[in-house]
Each structure stands twice: as C-alpha cells, then as structure tokens.
C-alpha cells in the first residue's frame, strides 16, 4: 500500500506533478515543498481559517486536507490571486479600507471571500457575509474594516479587478 502519492494537480494555473508522503497536508505541501508560504499555519486543526485555499474554486482548510485530495483538482492560493499586475478586487478593497493589521489572517480571509466576489450571480446578504467570515479568526481588526471592504465590493455590482484608476493605491486611510 502506498506511503507516497503521485499527484497531478494545477496550482495557480500551472500544472504540476508531485511525489509527496501520504501524510502530507495540503498546507505543508504548498509551504514546504513548493515554497508558497502565503497560506499560513494558525491553529493547524481547522479552527482558525488562516490556511484557507481554494480547491476547485471552493474554500478548503488546507491544514486538515491531505495533499492527495489535490490530485486531479485545481488549487488556488493567495499567490495566485493577482492577475496581470492587478490585485483581486477583494484584495484592493481590503487595502483601501485598511482591513488588515498584523496580516496573518489576511490570506485566508481573501480566499474565503474571493468566491463570493467571483460569482456575480450570487447575492450575498450581510448574514451570509458574517457567517463566511466566521470561519476566519482575526484577533486585530475586530472585523469592522474587513466587513466594510467586503460590503463595498459585493454591493458595488462591479466585481472586476482594477475597477478604478489607482485602485492599488491606498485611499486616505479608510473611513470605515
């Protein structure tokens, strides 16, 4: 019975073939084997959300997902969110609203919110938004600025990246 697994997966759009131990978590594969250290170790048991990545477009806690689960599936991490030099709209909004302090939870929060933003048909009410964020522990911000960033992007109707000139520039410090 195999102690090592051969994976064929796609990571941030690039196909990869990897040999990993069977007990490798997806998070450790990303961080240790591939050097993608944007996804974070927090609690390491699925409580805090700092390790959230997208597996076939859906948020997954990579610390309690086996690397083997990525076989035949597409993984997206925080490193793959910017495209063509432009941040993802939720990254831009978090930047404008100063929705990060120490920043440790921020990659996980971006990965949890991005699917809501990327699905233009999905209406997201405030209750759902709060519930989604309930999966990601932030001990700095008190969530107020994260929520205002998410609300702005989701209510804007314009969920395209680079939506405003100078969108990557910080605003006057956020007014939330």
């Amino acid at each position: 019975m195999p102690d090592e697994i051969v994976l064929k997966t796609t990571i941030n759009g690039e196909s990869a073939r990897l040999l990993v131990p069977a007990n490798r978590s997806l998070l450790d594969m990303l961080r240790e084997d591939l050097g993608l250290t944007g996804s974070k170790h927090g609690c390491d048991v699925g409580d805090c959300g700092a390790c959230t990545v997208l597996l076939d477009g859906q948020p997954r806690l990579s610390c309690i997902t086996l690397a083997a689960e990525a076989d035949g599936r597409a993984v997206r991490t925080i490193e793959g969110m910017a495209e063509g030099g432009l941040l993802h709209p939720i990254q831009e909004a978090l930047h404008r609203h100063v929705g990060a302090q120490c920043g440790y939870c921020t990659p996980g929060i971006v990965m949890a919110l991005a699917p809501l933003v990327d699905d233009p048909d999905q209406a997201v009410d405030d209750e759902t938004l709060r519930e989604v964020l309930g999966a990601n522990i932030c001990r700095c911000t008190g969530y107020t600025r994260i929520l205002s960033a998410a609300r702005e992007v989701l209510a804007g109707g314009d969920r395209q990246r680079g939506r405003a000139a100078g969108a990557r520039e910080p605003s006057d410090g956020g007014t939330a």
């Binding site: 102690d3 949890a112 309930g134 999966a135």
Partner: protein, 314 residues
C-alpha cells in the same frame, strides 16, 4: 506545526474497492477529515491505513426514496445537505442543525456520514498529546484514570454530533454496507453507553446513506455553545411535537443521546431536565448545562407551539 502521523493512503473510486479492505486491522475510513485529521494530529488515532471515501461519487448523492422520504449519501457535505431544497422543505430542523456545525468552510468539507459517526468528545480527550501527557493521559486515549470521574471505571466522553438529535426525532435509519450485504439500523441504536466504545456497527461495515422517512414530523433543533461559530455544542436539544405530547433528544452531555417522551408537551422540559446527567466533560459547568436543558427545551416547545416566539428567539 502539528504533523500527521505516518500512514498509507487508499483512495479508491469504486465502492467495491472501499469494502474490500474495510475491517482489516489498522484500516480507518476518512470522510471529510474535519474531525479525524485534527484528532490524528493530536495522536488520538494512529491508523496504519486511511481509506478515503472522497473519490466515490455515488456516496455523495441525495435522492428521493420510493415512499417519499430522502436518502442522503454519507459523503454528502453538510453544506450540501443544508442547501438542498428537499431537505429544507421536508426536514428543516436537519438543515438548521447542519448550519450550526463549526463554520461554513468546515460544512463544505465535512459530511453527514462523518457527523453521524463523530467520535465522542471530552475536555480531557480532545487535546494535543503533550497536554494529555501533562495530566497522565486520559482514559479514552492512553491513560488509566478518567479525569471526569476518577473513581469510576467508565468513559463519559460526549456524543456531540449536531445532526444526530434532529435526525433521531425524524426517525432516520442508517444504510450499512459490507461485503456480507446491506442492512438498515435505526439511528437511535447506534450509540454506546461508554464513551470509548464507538458506534455500534461492525468493523467491516460502511455507513452508506442516511434514510429519512417521508416528511411530516414537526421538529426543532437548538444548540448551546460558547461562541456563535466554530465550537462544538455543550448542549444540543431537539424537540418534536406529537399531538398533545412530544419528544425530546438531549445530546452533548454523555456518550449517548438521551430520549424522553411525554403525553403533555408542557411536561417535556421538566422530563428532559430529570433525564439529563452531564458530567464535567466540558469546560463549562455541568450544573449550568443541566440547568440549560430545561430552558432550551422550554424555548423549543414555545417556538413549536407559538410560531411568533420563533422570531423572539432568533
């Protein structure tokens, strides 16, 4: 960083290839992994082989039964069950119970089968290995003394599945499959009196599906937990109205859920309180948790009998 212990992994895509190794020594099933993998990181389980069910699509199907009920594949995710229009219409307490599990991300990973088969939980058991070692180990994991009841011989780790209380009141059955064949087991027969003993099915049996009888039962589910997300319940209550009387299932207080039935619905809260004997398996006081049994059952009864109160209790 909490590394996983070493194991071999099998991830077959055919049901037959799941059943073949099932029951062999050291083989353990992996469903969503949201409880098993943290527990393995805490060295509560060290299986030689993990047998993943995630590549068998037929196990995730939700489909109507011939009699108007619903057959929910064991690998259907909790989020999928919660969002299923048929579940929401016919068995709404199950949908609302799924919505109370941990977080939405966990619900998208965790499965109904995994939730039903959830390992019993305790303050002294669900801890990192070093934490347990510092108190001489826990009876269920590796020790010789139970820190909940040091003079006793039993384990009191609590059945803590969020979906079990409402599923029991909907009179759900489990479809079990092995190489020897298929059988049905009433969910209420699944639980052991001792927290170490695990679900009462054979080692070579797979929980294939949860079967719900046709809709009609009026059930309500309530969960008490420290925070509004992430946490397991320190008290789980489901209540069903049956004519003038009703039933309650109380869980998260001991190894098996407790069922009570009364002829007059007004007596249900007191009966549930009498039948509940929580021990200190949770960091919150067992006296308070017992006190809350009466309050939570009374609230559920009030919601069932006075629909307007449902708004008041949110």
């Amino acid at each position: 960083m909490l590394p996983l212990p070493s194991f071999s992994l099998l991830a077959p895509d055919r049901l037959d290839d799941v059943l073949a190794p099932l029951g062999q020594p050291g083989v353990r099933l992996l469903a969503g992994g949201t409880d098993l993998l943290p527990s393995m990181k805490h060295r509560l389980f060290k299986p030689a082989t993990l047998l993943s069910l995630s590549r068998v699509p037929e196990l995730a199907r939700i489909e109507p039964t011939e009699d108007g009920g619903l057959r929910i594949g064991a690998m259907a995710t909790l989020l999928g069950v919660r969002q299923d229009a048929r579940v929401r219409a016919g068995w709404p307490a199950l949908a609302s119970a799924c919505a109370t599990v941990a977080t939405r991300t966990i619900q998208a990973m965790g499965t109904l089968g995994g939730n039903v088969m959830l390992d019993t939980r305790c303050l002294y058991y669900n801890q990192p290995a070093g934490w347990r070692a510092s108190i001489g180990g826990c009876l269920k994991a590796e020790g010789s003394v139970c820190h909940v009841a040091p003079r006793g011989t039993g384990c009191y780790a609590a059945q803590s599945s969020d979906t079990v209380p409402s599923l029991m009141l909907y009179e759900a059955e489990l479809e079990l499959l092995s190489r020897r064949g298929s059988r049905r087991l009433a969910l209420s027969e699944l639980f052991s009196a001792d927290g170490r003993d695990g679900p009462r099915i054979e080692r070579d049996e797979l929980l294939r599906a949860v079967i719900l009888p046709p809709p009609g039962a009026v059930v309500l589910h309530r969960k008490v937990r420290p925070r509004g997300a992430i946490d397991y319940g320190m008290l789980l209550v489901a209540v069903r109205r049956q004519g003038d009387g009703g039933s309650a299932v109380i869980s998260a207080l001991g190894p098996a859920p407790v069922s009570v039935r009364v002829e007059q619905l007004g007596d249900l809260a007191q009966a549930a309180w009498k039948a509940s004997n929580p021990l200190s398996t949770h960091s919150w006081s067992s006296t308070w948790r017992k006190h809350m049994v009466r309050i939570e059952v009374a609230r559920a009864v009030a919601e069932l009998t006075t629909p307007r109160l449902a708004i008041a209790h949110g």
